[in-house]
Subunit: 257 residues, 2 copies
Amino acid sequence: MYIIGERINGMFKDVAKAIREKNKRIIQELALKQIEKGADALDVNLGTAVEDPLSAMEWLVKTIGEVTEITLAIDTTKLAVMEKGLQCCKSKPIINSTSADEEKLNTLIPLAKKYNAGLIGLTMSRKGIPSDANSRLELAIHILNRWQEEGLPVEDLYIDAVILPVNVAQAQCPEVLETIHQVKMLSQPPPKTILGLSNVSQGTKYRSLINRTYLVMALAFGLEAAILDPFDEELRQAMRTAEVLLNKTVYCDSYLK
Amino acid sequence: MYIIGERINGMFKDVAKAIREKNKRIIQELALKQIEKGADALDVNLGTAVEDPLSAMEWLVKTIGEVTEITLAIDTTKLAVMEKGLQCCKSKPIINSTSADEEKLNTLIPLAKKYNAGLIGLTMSRKGIPSDANSRLELAIHILNRWQEEGLPVEDLYIDAVILPVNVAQAQCPEVLETIHQVKMLSQPPPKTILGLSNVSQGTKYRSLINRTYLVMALAFGLEAAILDPFDEELRQAMRTAEVLLNKTVYCDSYLK
């Protein structure tokens, strides 16, 4: 599975403080440690309480770029901040994210083209997040069509079926699994599927257990990528075991090592 | 999920010794403890090293029957021993198991009818265990047809897609998941699906991790019953969490309790 490390996010207090104080060491350590734990890419999110997000994003992306050329997923809703992040990336970046709304697609798809970036497309619109798989799939199809109209490669598109916390929208948890399964049948080759995993357990008591249980089920339904916490060792073990049991990596007695 | 406790099996040394020494206390404690841990039924297997299996099965089933009227799954390949076990059950039993071979079906289906028993049907035949889902499904269809020809209720039939150890037949692990999924589409209502879970991890280093990861995936594909170890607390937690995430039991903060 393709792992995007979630830890460089201003929603975490250590990261918010490091951004505020321009503490490169904290950020660079978080970057390198996530990579050491198996991250294939790093999410980069300023959080909410940043005074000058444009320069903060530039500082953050360049700070990471000093120690690694790994793919960065620029995670912001502000267009100018997104472009600044993309400009500063050392290698092919990912745009995190667009909805299925036209004004989003009309700005972010050209941006993806300009910067040769991947794009995460959320199956939601201004009307909200649909409650069932079929309606999520319709939004996925719309995003896929708009992406392909621009001649962009389908393997650079990541459909995110938007998992909500189980304590808020329990009935949607199986619908998201079904969406993942259906997205794989949309085109040949199909777009990739991705989840912002930790969201499923927001506000619950057994966060790690819920995260890893849902990840195992999503992998069985064909999930290829997730934004997650690379420091969660039990999550890593569950993921590796699922990959073995799905015959995606070869079993050996020491497969966890 | 319907849990059949696996611990009363002569393959375990404590059980073999208790059968040999006619030690009721050991057997009765194992029965009650498995029920306390959530077992809905108990598998009853003499193991291999029993001198007089007919009287041993009678003793074993009656010993359990002294402390509980729970469903017993009589687990033996010997026809006379099977019938003796069924005769001694206090409530509706389960026959564990038949293959798809005619000589098995011709004896075990009438036995199920005679004793109003459930039947576990393995998707295997004298030719062996097929390597792919479609061939397993063909055997499931054959067992289902023979069961229905006798006018027996489909909800009493448990199709077991026969999971083999991941270190022996890794490529079959996803095929078994696919079989479980397909069996649910065979009839309306469909037969139940069941797994002898612990087999997937035989001979591996991380048995509990492999068992619970596979169970979570199988549940996502529609599995309804499993023969498993009710004493494995992490397995129980994973199962409960999967049931919540599949929206089969209602989420509450203390759902693990």
